[in-house]
């Protein structure tokens, strides 16, 4: 097995172009498990931990440009205020040791339906910056996940960064599992409210072949909030509205039975998490001053 270790982004893209079969490795929290258990033996590893640019983040045109190699631990310590939804999900990743190594770039590369970063990235309308020697292209998060552990990257492309618009309203996230640490999500859900645009976005994790949004739930909620002037009044959300939102989120999922949980349990949990996260987000919206929102 070859071990490619570029020290610049240019060299990394050249290496991926020359060896498209090379598997990128950063934190190793997914890939090393496969290597340790002999479940995978790639022809080459492309280590990206020596590419300093990948471990940077900055703010550009109203978005955080999060380098693919920024760890979950750094998202929590450096970006909790700017990206609350993603930071909430980051806190639920693995353990301290895993959060010190794991990256959002790796999560997107693996593209597991259970990846913790995916629901908040869907809710935040993030964009994946894919790069190759041919150039850079932006892939909307809605188009990024193409199947179970499959994504829209071409064989010569690497994930440079993910661009996450700075939130314009409350974001919430919930994940269910058997304990508080070291849990692969049984199901997860993220919601983002955008009061100024009167929009709602969602993200479902671990309850379909890919992470996905719940468009009917988003449209229903945005419509109901507008119809009843709730964006303006910030009044309590009626119980039936929360229930309907939960039902529509559940309807958007297509889970399976597996070792972590049954499809029926996942559907039930999603409905509960959808109602809860919406109630939390709405409480945040109610407590924010109208001028400040």
């Amino acid at each position: 097995m070859e071990f490619l270790q570029p020290t610049s982004w240019t060299d990394a893209l050249a290496a991926k172009a020359a060896s498209p079969e090379a598997v990128p490795i950063c934190g190793g929290t997914d890939l090393m498990v496969e290597l340790n258990f002999d479940a995978r033996r790639p022809a080459a590893l492309l280590d990206l931990t020596k590419v300093a640019d990948l471990a940077q983040w900055d703010i550009d045109d109203g978005s955080v440009r999060l380098g693919a190699g920024v760890s979950y631990a750094r998202i929590i310590t450096e970006l909790s205020a700017r990206l609350p939804g993603l930071a909430m999900a980051a806190r639920t990743v693995g353990s301290p040791q895993i959060r010190n190594r794991g990256t959002v770039g790796g999560n997107l590369g693996t593209a597991s339906p259970a990846g913790d970063a995916h629901p908040p990235l869907l809710a935040a309308a993030a964009t994946v910056e894919a790069a190759s020697v041919r150039g850079t292209r932006l892939i909307g998060i809605d188009e990024f996940f193409t199947g179970v552990k499959r994504n829209a990257l071409a064989a010569d492309e690497l994930i440079a960064a993910v661009r996450i618009p700075l939130p314009v309203g409350p974001e919430q996230f919930s994940k269910i599992g058997t304990r508080n640490a070291m849990v692969i999500a049984v199901a997860a859900f993220a919601v983002a409210l955008q009061p100024a645009r009167k929009l709602v976005r969602t993200g479902i994790g671990s309850a379909a072949p890919t992470p996905r949004r719940a468009p009917a739930a988003e449209q229903f909620l945005a419509g109901a909030l507008a119809e009843h002037d709730l964006w303006e009044s910030r009044a309590e959300l009626p119980g039936p509205l929360l229930d309907r939102f939960g039902d529509l989120v559940t309807a958007a999922a297509a889970p399976i039975d597996d070792v972590r949980g049954t499809a029926a349990y996942r559907l039930h949990a999603l409905g509960v998490m959808a109602r809860r996260t919406l109630a939390w987000a709405w409480r945040q919206y109610q407590s924010a001053s109208p001028e400040g929102s």
């Binding site: 270790q5 280590d47 040791q97 640490a181």
Partner: protein, 157 residues
Amino acid sequence: MRIAATINGQQMQADDVWPGESLLYVLRERLGLPGSKNACEQGECGSCTVYLDGIPVCACLVAAGQAQGRDIVTVEGLAGPSQLHPVQQAFLDAGAVQCGFCTPGLIVATHDLLSRDAEPTDLEIREALAGNLCRCTGYEKILDAVRLAASRMRAGG
């Protein structure tokens, strides 16, 4: 490939390393440092926790090649020349060591916690040690040990 790294303050190297093997394998099988334990090999148990450039990680999830040129501290690197580190002593004194397999990882994780926070709450201790499994103690003695180490270190011990 040849891997050269600083390990417990010493420059060390290993030859004929398969790049896909883990840092844990290199430490234990090639460099004679068996303190870091090999249990789950999937980052679940924390028994192989080491510092990589000052950050606690599971050595089983670091590819050998990724350790090239890095600074690594294992549990063997924590004690002084003539006495155990206060965290190690506290684990012994509190009865937090039973079979001992999880101990090296818990020692490194506790060492990291107390270097960042001299007086952690119980919740913070639980959170900091959430990536380390122990199947013997039920964790109560481990929590006692962390509190004991924290109080001794605050007192200058």
